[in-house]
Amino acid sequence: MKPLWEMQQFIEYDDILAWRDEVGVKKGVVYENGRVLFNQWPVRPHEQIVNEFNIQFVSQLSSRYVGTVQHPVFINDGTTGIYLSRMNLMCETYESPVQVAIKNPMLPGGPNLVPKPNSRTPYSLSSRTNRTANLTHPS
């Protein structure tokens, strides 16, 4: 993708949308700060390894405190805070921050996310959690 990223100043958001529709990609394409990325989904044995590790951890360090005032001693945050947009793409009903902002422009940060007409950078994306525009087709 690097050759494409180097041309990001010449590529508009609408170009990516047009390309996506032309090739028939339904989901998994992300437009991020002028760059196009493809999502990757974990396959076996990714979650199975995570599960085995968690079993070992919980059985030794957490389960012994269940039912006591000290519970929970440890909290498993899982994928909390890790690239939310990509993780949420696993959910078919996911709506990107941009889609939500268009529907609810009065939400905090919403006006900044709504496309600006004739703007070369269509979205003003600032924070970590909303800097990615998901190009998944709304269901």
């Binding site: 199975q48 390894i49 085995e52 070992q56 012994r64």
Partner: protein
């Protein structure tokens, strides 16, 4: 814990270095990687447990984000090939990794709980290998 998905082990090492750098408060990094090859017989894997260098001096301004170098407590043994094959059981003496509980709490002291916390968290590395062996795609 970082379980790589479509990431090379050197990439994961770079993530490890950043996660255990002076800019974070992460103490322990468990790296598990499954390398799927042309055949299941040649699949390999890698597990490494690293901890922050708790005693490294404060870095000067502008120090790179991979400072200080971490301390590796455990990694799967290299026998010939860089990474062991999934189908080969680990030798006795390399099947577990005991991670001191104090590493999970540093710089705070380990709390005194009832029942008392174990001295270490025992990672059954061999069981993780078996999980990869049994749960990988055919």
């Amino acid at each position: 814990m970082e379980v790589g998905n479509s990431q090379s082990i050197p990439d994961l090492m770079n993530i490890r270095d950043r996660m255990l750098s002076y800019r974070t408060a992460i103490n322990v990094f468990v790296l598990i990687s499954y390398n799927r090859n042309a055949t299941r017989a040649t699949d390999s894997w890698f597990l490494q447990v690293s901890v922050r260098d708790f005693y490294a001096p404060q870095p000067p301004p502008g120090t790179l984000t991979n400072y200080p170098a971490c301390t590796v407590l455990y990694e799967t043994p290299k026998i010939g090939a860089p990474y062991p094959r999934v189908e080969l059981a680990l030798a006795h003496g390399t099947q577990i990794c005991d991670l001191p509980i104090s590493h999970l709490y540093h710089p705070e002291t380990t709390p005194i709980l009832n029942p008392i916390l174990p001295v270490s968290f025992r990672i059954n590395v061999e069981q993780i290998r078996v999980t990869i062996l049994n749960q990988r795609r055919p």
